[in-house]
Structure formats: structure tokens, C-alpha cells
């Protein structure tokens, strides 16, 4: 077994015990990155030098008998909209291609203080808008299980990286499914925490009322480990909840489904023709495992969410995106095109700096906030959102966890955006963002065929119910096992050229 194949928990344990060094772990992962990048394009920036310095510091601490912390020597890949000193935070956009932030994001500070290493920044859809990674203005990432397919989006690079063994952990962001959908496509764990659990300081905003930083991992135990670090309260983010967090480690140490009520959504039955058979099989397999573990299977009805969730999300997310992207005007930082007048400077900078999806969303967002549209669209959507949150509150009186597919199908072929079916993608992942709820995606097997593709299931809990999700995931993992590292394709031309 290679070091890169270890879980984060095993890496940290080995480094702390002096069985192997942080530098050895890092070199194993860097080797994997070098081997995989030609085919996967999961990374935008590899910061090998910086990570080597971090590893040396960790090894120095171990040598002096000091404890580097619970993430000692664990490499963590960061989505390229999470700020880290010393490397650009491109957001996969020309707008910020060369902009190096003068600070670390809060979650980076927290992980660094626990001994983590940061080997690089992962590819993504521009400013986190997209579901395939193909709105990156740089290269388009591939799925390690089949490189003709997309790894999902917007945090596609993170998911591909963890699935391919670049690192056992990655941090992405999830505004409408951007952690969970790629986790499902790449066969790993992805968690979107409750809005307000993890600090967003130093994370480039897309839709601030929905954005959350979320971790990727290959085991439920690792997911609990990284969550317990990055969910620390932070006074630097006024929306980050103060006070103690539950013991997430305990939730995965002795998991049990006894007496848990796991619910399926009745209203989705009518839509089952839009869902791939493999996805439905994954869901029933999950429910069977829960039943076998002593859980009671119930059902809930979420009619408002199913009918009005998508339009509500589209209006609010675009309005917030237009607001968040307004500051990229070429005056202070980032891309700047000189114009004869201020308005020409704006037009040239924003015209050249934003890709097609960003422009579309800025236009739509500005439109729904303009004049009479504001009440007709924005206010109506904001009210609908309250109804959706209430509908979930009601539903959770009768269950502990709601289970549903993460995505309508397995990873789609690059260049197709998944076609008709993928229009459903948002419906399945956006409700937790609208309602501020925690949601987790875990692997529930593979499709058949000569290139089997991972299939995910999604679990939603009530607010601050991350421990509930981790407990269920860990309990089911006992039967199905953790995620396996995908084997890399034979080196393509790009790989050989290096």
C-alpha cells in the first residue's frame, strides 16, 4: 500500500507516532498529482514548494516531541475560491487569474494550525457556477473513473483529486450542490454543513445566503475529522454561529441506526422517470441497509420544495451572484483594462474578465433586482424560501434523516452538460441550501458496464444535525466500505511530455 492511499486519520496517526514522516506522505501525494494531472486537470495551481516547507515544519515538531495536531502531515486540496497566502485565488476566472490574496481563509488557518499541508488549488467552474467543471476558463477537469466524463461541479477538481488519491481531503464550496454532486460523480464523500457552521472568511462569495465550505473525503471518519477542525467558531465571520460544536468524532466512532427514522420523499416518485435506474437502485440499497441496521423507514412529503425549489433558487442565486460579482470592476485589483472613461474601463474589464456563465448570471441577477421585477421575482422568491424552510422543519418532526439521490444519474460525458436529465440536478441538491440544512453525499455502488461509474445517495438532516448525518454514513459504511482510490488511466500524451 502506498502512503497516498491512506485515510487522513491514518496519515495523521502515523505521522504523530513517527511511523512515517509528513514529508514522505506529501511526496507520495505529489507523485500521484504529477502522475494524474495530464489526464485529470484537477488542479489550477500546485504549490509543492510551500507544502514541502509545511511538511518540514511538521516533521520538525515531531522530532522535538511536539504534537503538530490532529491533521499532522495530512495534505488538503483547496478549491480555488478559498484564499491561501502565497498562491493566486483564481476562481477559474480571467478576472482573478493573477491575484494573490494577502490572507488565508479561516478554514485554512484552522487546518494549518492542526498540522495540515496544502499542496495546491483545485480546478472549478468559474466563480463556482456550473455543474461539470467546464466553465473553468483554464482546462476542463476529468473524472478519474472515466476521463471522457466530467467530475461534476462546481468543485469538480476537488472531487477528482480526492478520488484519484492526490490527497485524502479537499475543501470545496457548496451553494446549490457544488460539493455533493461532484462527490457523487467521483464516488467519494462530500458534506455541505448547516449555513453558519463553518466560517466563510476568506472564501470568495457567490451567493452569501447559501454558500458553505464543505469537505470531501474517502471515509466517514475522515469527514468527521476535518469537520471537527473547520467548524470552529470564528468571530471574523458574523454569520458563523458562536458556541460549542457537537463531537463529530464520537458520531462516527460508534455509529448506530437503531431507532433512527430515515425518510424517503414521496413527491419524488412522480419524477422517477427522470432518474437513472442505477441512482434509484442506490437509494433503495441505502434504505435497505438502514432498515437492516435497525432504522425505521418512513416517508415525508415536500410538495412546495419539489415544485417551487428550482425557480426560487434560480432567482435568489442569480441575484446574489450579480451582487457578489459587482466588485470586479478593474479599479482596485484583478484584471484591469484601461479605458478612456470610467464606464469604458468597467465595460472592457467585465467584458473580457467574465466567462459566458458568469455574464449570464450577472445579467439575470441584475434583471430580477431591477425596478418592478424586484418584488415580482426577488421578494416572491425570498418568501417562497421561508415556506421551504418551514416545510423541512415540519418534515423533521417525523424523521431524523431524509434520503434521496444526489444527482439524477452518474457522471455525464464532457461537453454534453448531461442533457435533459441534468436539468433535474439542481432539484435534488439545492433544497438544503435554500433551507440552510446540512446534507451529505456518499457512494452507494457503481453502475454496470466496462467502465463502472460511481452512484451517490444524499442524506439531509435538520439544522446543526451534521452528527446525525455522519453517524448514519459511518453505520452504512460498515457494510459497503469506504471509497476506494480510482486507478489512474495510462499516461496520455500530456503526461509523457512532462
Amino acid at each position: 500500500m502506498q502512503l497516498y492511499e491512506l485515510s487522513a486519520t491514518e496519515m495523521a496517526r502515523g505521522v504523530r507516532a513517527g511511523e512515517f514522516s509528513a514529508s514522505e506522505v506529501l511526496e507520495s501525494c505529489l507523485g500521484r498529482i504529477e502522475e494524474g494531472e495530464g489526464a485529470l486537470a484537477a488542479m489550477i495551481t500546485v504549490t509543492a514548494g510551500k507544502a514541502r516547507e509545511e511538511a518540514a515544519l511538521v516533521d520538525g515538531m515531531v522530532a522535538r516531541g511536539e504534537d503538530p495536531g490532529p491533521l499532522a502531515g495530512v495534505p488538503i486540496i483547496l478549491k480555488d475560491n478559498i484564499c491561501m497566502r502565497g498562491a493566486p485565488v483564481t476562481c477559474a476566472s480571467k478576472m482573478l487569474e493573477n491575484w494573490v490574496p494577502p490572507y488565508d481563509a479561516a478554514v485554512v488557518e484552522m487546518a494549518a494550525a492542526s498540522g495540515a499541508l496544502f499542496p495546491g488549488k483545485a480546478n472549478m467552474d468559474e466563480f463556482a457556477m456550473g455543474n461539470s467543471g467546464e466553465f473553468s476558463v483554464f482546462t476542463h477537469p476529468s473524472n478519474p473513473w472515466d476521463t471522457d466524463r466530467a467530475p461534476g461541479g462546481s468543485s469538480g477538481g476537488c472531487a477528482a483529486a480526492v478520488a484519484a488519491g492526490y490527497a485524502p481531503l479537499a475543501l470545496g464550496t457548496d451553494t446549490g450542490g457544488s460539493v455533493r454532486q461532484p462527490a457523487s460523480f467521483c464516488g467519494i464523500y462530500g458534506l455541505k454543513p448547516t449555513w453558519g457552521l463553518a466560517s466563510r472568511r476568506g472564501v470568495v462569495p457567490l451567493a452569501p445566503t447559501m454558500d458553505q465550505v464543505g469537505p470531501f473525503a474517502r471515509t466517514a471518519e475522515d469527514l468527521a475529522l476535518i469537520l471537527s477542525i473547520i467548524s470552529a467558531p470564528d468571530g471574523g465571520d458574523g454569520t458563523c454561529r458562536p458556541g460549542q460544536r457537537p463531537d463529530y468524532g464520537a458520531a462516527v466512532a460508534t455509529p448506530s441506526l437503531k431507532g433512527k427514522r430515515v425518510a424517503a420523499i414521496r413527491d419524488l416518485e412522480g419524477l422517477s422517470s427522470l432518474l437513472d435506474d442505477a441512482v434509484l437502485e442506490g437509494l433503495s440499497k441505502f434504505l435497505d441497509l438502514c432498515r437492516g441496521g435497525g432504522a425505521e423507514i418512513v416517508d415525508v412529503s415536500l410538495p412546495v420544495t419539489v415544485e417551487f425549489g428550482p425557480p426560487c433558487y434560480h432567482v435568489l442565486s442569480r441575484a446574489e451572484a450579480a451582487s457578489s460579482l459587482a466588485r470586479y470592476d478593474g479599479v482596485r485589483y484583478g484584471l484591469s483594462k484601461r479605458g478612456e472613461s470610467l464606464s469604458e474601463l468597467y465595460t472592457l474589464t467585465r467584458g473580457e474578465g467574465f466567462g459566458p456563465e458568469s455574464k449570464r448570471r450577472v445579467l439575470m441577477g441584475t434583471w430580477v433586482m431591477s425596478g418592478a421585477n424586484f418584488d415580482e421575482y426577488y421578494t416572491a422568491a425570498a418568501k417562497t424560501r421561508t415556506l421551504i424552510a418551514r416545510e423541512f422543519d415540519e418534515a423533521f418532526k417525523g424523521c431524523d434523516i431524509i434520503a434521496l439521490p444526489t444527482a439524477p444519474g452518474p457522471a455525464f460525458i464532457k461537453g454534453t452538460q448531461g442533457g435533459e436529465r441534468m436539468r433535474m440536478a439542481n432539484l435534488l441538491t439545492l433544497p438544503p441550501n435554500l433551507a440552510g440544512l446540512p446534507a451529505l453525499s456518499m457512494n452507494m455502488g457503481f453502475t454496470g458496464g466496462d467502465k463502472p461509474l460511481p452512484v451517490g445517495v444524499q442524506l439531509i438532516a435538520s439544522r446543526w444535525g451534521e452528527a446525525e448525518l455522519l453517524n448514519a454514513a459511518a453505520a452504512v459504511e460498515k457494510s459497503v466500505g469506504g471509497a476506494t482510490v480510482a486507478s489512474l488511466p495510462a499516461r496520455g500524451k500530456e503526461g509523457e511530455a512532462r
Binding site: 494577502p102 481563509a105 458574523g238 459587482a326 482596485r332 470610467l342
Partner: protein, 272 residues
């Protein structure tokens, strides 16, 4: 038929709050006269990922002023983003309180021109961020003829309370008296230094004139409302309003239609 002309004036007064730091970041508020861009940070520069943290002291001062103006005080603070593009606005939106101001529905009694006490209704008092300043390279500092413009964000993000009155004032003297009372009040309560020359108290006036039949009291016509800015003293406020009211009266008398517009007081020439 004899006609009378009655000025209708409402004031919007921006008061820079006497806080040690800015409204949503820890930059020092003691920016006046300092080197350009010496009082900035990722927060007030709107860098990606920087987040606003409310200065509690600013909220306290706003509430204090609101109570003194007999306003109803809201028990929670709500903020909105007011979007517009300009180079002195670092995030391309100003964090302000639009729908739900911290204080509203107040009253301030002033001494009117005839010596009687007159109540002036306060519409609202809300918290908002100040913008930076642009400096233009032309000799007179104006945009016209300037080759380059320079942005100084020291003032950007400073804590302001905007106090909006109902259009209850009916002469330049009353407007001056009202502004003087507000200045006295914010100084007495240590809410602001109220220094108009430094720009820590800025008065914008909304003015129109109605033409009234002196016998029946019937309103015959209104002039389109003008917003007048850039008055750096109480005296300037009074003079600007006198000038503006005269302009509106003449327009009404001659039947000329005025456009609704924003005008700037030119102290040197005595015109808007």
C-alpha cells in the same frame, strides 16, 4: 387674484459617527487629512472573501441619536446592499438600511421664523457606510479636463447615520435652524463632532415651491423638486436655499417647467 409662493423643504443630514473604527472593519476612523489610502484594509477595500463585522459602537450611537429624536427604535438591525458602480465604492454596493431603518417616526421641535415652536417630523435615521473620494488631476480638482483620477479609500466604510426629515420646513431660515439643532444634538450626545467643514456633517436639501392662491389657499402649481448638495456651512445652506427658492419662484411665475434634478451649490459664485 394674488398668489403666494410657499417653499417646501426637507433635509437629509449625513452624520459621521464618533466611532474609533469604521462601520464594518477595524480601520481607524481618524482618517481626516491622512495620506491617501493609509486607512484601508481588505474589508473596506472589498477584497474577495473579506467579510463585514458590524461596529457595535456605531449602532449604539445611532440608537442614542434616534432616542433623542423621539424615534421608534427597531429591536434588530437589518442591512441592505445598495448597488451602483462608481470608482469610490469598493464593493460596488453600499451597505445601508433601506427597508428597515434602525430608527423612524421621530420629531424635533425648532424655533420657526416667527419665534413660535414648530415640530419637524423625522422620517427615519439609518446606518450606512460612507464612500471613498476621487481626486482628479485637473488644476481645479474637478473631473472636467482631468487626465487622470485617483481614488482614496480612507473615508470608504466610515460609519454614517443619515437623518431624513419630512418636508416640513418652509424657509431657508427654518432649514438652517433645523440643521443647527441637529448639529447641536449630535454634538451634545457625543454622537458626532458635527463639523461641516470637515464633512463630518453633510446636509442635502430637497426643495420645491408651491404656488398658492392667497385668498382661497388653493394650490395652483408645484415646481419640480430639486436636490441641492455641497453646502459646507449653515450659512451656505441658507444661501443655497434662498437662491434655489428664487429660481423656482421665477420659473413658476413665468410658467417655465423645471426638471427634477440634483444641483450643486457653488459657494464662490453664489449659485447652484
Amino acid at each position: 387674484m394674488t398668489v403666494r409662493y410657499v417653499p417646501v423643504i426637507g433635509l437629509e443630514i449625513h452624520v459621521q459617527l464618533a466611532t474609533e473604527s469604521k462601520l464594518f472593519c477595524r480601520c481607524s476612523a481618524d482618517y481626516f487629512g491622512k495620506a491617501p489610502n493609509a486607512h484601508i484594509c481588505p474589508g473596506c477595500m472589498g477584497l474577495p472573501g473579506a467579510m463585514p463585522i458590524l461596529n457595535g459602537r456605531a449602532a449604539e450611537l445611532a440608537v442614542r441619536a434616534g432616542i433623542a429624536l423621539s424615534c421608534k427604535i427597531r429591536d434588530r438591525l437589518y442591512f441592505d446592499r445598495k448597488h451602483y458602480f462608481y470608482a469610490d465604492l469598493s464593493k460596488a454596493y453600499q451597505i445601508s438600511q433601506d427597508g428597515r431603518p434602525v430608527a423612524e417616526g421621530g420629531l424635533l421641535k425648532i424655533r420657526s421664523d416667527d419665534g413660535t415652536l414648530k415640530p419637524v417630523r423625522i422620517t427615519r435615521l439609518h446606518l450606512e457606510e460612507d464612500a471613498g473620494k476621487l481626486v482628479h488631476s485637473a488644476a481645479d480638482g474637478r473631473l472636467e479636463g482631468a487626465e487622470n483620477s485617483y481614488a482614496d479609500y480612507n473615508r470608504g466604510g466610515m460609519a454614517l447615520a443619515e437623518i431624513v426629515s419630512e418636508p416640513d420646513l418652509s424657509s431657508p431660515g427654518e432649514a438652517r435652524e433645523y440643521a443647527a439643532r441637529i448639529r447641536q444634538l449630535v454634538r451634545y450626545l457625543a454622537v458626532s463632532d458635527g463639523d461641516m467643514e470637515k464633512g463630518s456633517l453633510r446636509v442635502d436639501a430637497n426643495v420645491s415651491v408651491k404656488q398658492v392662491d392667497a385668498d382661497t389657499g388653493e394650490v395652483l402649481a408645484w415646481s419640480a423638486r430639486a436636490e441641492v448638495k455641497n453646502m459646507n456651512s449653515l450659512r451656505a445652506l441658507e444661501r443655497a436655499l434662498e437662491y434655489e427658492i428664487r429660481r423656482h419662484r421665477e420659473a413658476l411665475a413665468s410658467g417655465e417647467r423645471l426638471e427634477r434634478e440634483t444641483r450643486h451649490w457653488n459657494e464662490a459664485e453664489g449659485v447652484t
